[in-house]
């Protein structure tokens, strides 16, 4: 947290004015209420009117803070994204800095746990809610792909540098896939051969499938607890990368 001050355009650092403080408070409150309502009722049940009621203003007042309902959803989206990345990052930092296996395992587990505890938010960030938010205005779609891809990518980079990965040579990859892998690599900012990028995507495809199964609950009638499938998958993926399950994995 930064100190309660802000650099003005003239360079002075001033204490927040009363108005600025109130504005920041209301914005924070509104977003927090919106987040809670969305989690409880689903994003489609999130209404400006309900948020206005709870924060004690009339609905039109919120237009001074967000560009309508879409803007409110977008604000929630941004907040949730930050929280999500924070939690995954923390899970990684909780591991031994040299234990890539534990880092990958913990990161993936953190993604799963957060997604299960925040299903509506998962849908917003990585599911069907995403295209709607993304379609909103600008080009902010791939923030998750970029940040989460970057986080996993740094671990893959380290494995690659240490020569611990077996990956296909460029010539052995489906030519139709090569430009796609290159685009992904450039966008996420990875710096290793596309064969390694390929490994990443194959892993992500499996992780993402398990996440969606668990969150959307299609098979919940049988797989009520997703952890057994998850741990089997992790063993599988770590083995795929030439790693083994770390004995020092730290999960909260």
């Amino acid at each position: 947290m930064a100190a309660a001050g802000e650099t003005r355009q003239d360079g002075r650092v001033t204490a927040l004015t009363r108005r600025e403080r109130l504005r920041a408070e209301l914005e924070r409150d509104a977003k927090s209420v919106a987040r809670r309502i969305a989690a409880e009722e689903g994003v489609e049940g999130l209404t400006l009117a309900a948020v206005a009621r709870e924060v004690g203003v009339t609905p039109p007042a919120l237009y001074r803070y967000f560009t309508g309902r879409a803007g409110l959803v977008r604000a929630v989206y941004d907040d949730v994204t930050a929280e999500f990345m924070d939690i995954v990052t923390q899970a990684v930092q909780r591991q031994d800095p040299d234990d890539i296996s534990a880092q990958l395992h913990a990161a993936t587990r953190a993604v799963l746990d957060w997604s299960l505890a925040n299903k509506v938010e998962f849908d917003l960030l990585m599911g069907a809610g995403f295209p709607k938010v993304a379609a909103s205005d600008d080009d902010i779609p791939m923030v998750i792909a970029r940040e989460l891809g970057g986080l996993f990518g740094r671990r893959f980079a380290q494995l690659w540098r240490e020569g611990r990965l077996t990956f296909p040579a460029d010539e052995d990859i489906d030519p139709a896939l090569v430009p796609q892998l290159r685009t992904y690599r450039e966008t996420v900012g990875l710096e290793f051969p596309i064969g390694v990028v390929f490994l990443m995507i194959i892993c992500w495809r499996q992780i993402y499938g398990l996440l969606c199964m668990a969150v959307y609950g299609h098979h919940q009638f049988a797989f009520d607890n997703p952890l057994p499938l998850f741990e089997h998958m992790m063993d599988d993926l770590l083995g795929f990368l030439g790693l083994t399950r770390s004995p020092n994995l730290r999960v909260p």
Copy 2:
């Protein structure tokens, strides 16, 4: 299609009465309009009022046909489910009856193609829309898991009967997973060892991940065309099952 007649409670087979015919027509029209609007605007953009406008009645009239908006969505859900299963079944029947590899490949490809062509409907059947619809009233959640699982399951059953599958023995499966696999097997009505059920679930997890990636479009900035990843996955999964890509695969 049955002839335009119907068996009454007294056993007589009568031609449809005028009222019944009109009712059937309006219901068909309303569902078709609803399906189109949902596909165009998303399920959240599907309104009773819009449907009523297009079919030429006032909104309350639709309450004679559906139990409110939720009932309309549910009706669309049921229709879409039937259409989906129909298309996948047809894709299988287009293959050589003895070529399991082609059947599995074609079925999976049909699922992908349909899902991409019907993203909103996919979300309804197998994504975030599903819990909402499922939560509606009764126990109709696992119709897709049951029917699609059954379709794939019959192919796995045949492979198993022919002794072509390598699968883990019950003792080699994570004990936490065993009861889950049993429940799944009973619910879907499969009749082979849970080790084979395990293979199915592992395959489905991967297929589902690819589907969600393609439909929700998180990585569309790079993987605009999902077919290269799909074909690689199919080679992988078929290999996993001890099969090879069929040279006689027939896709439309």
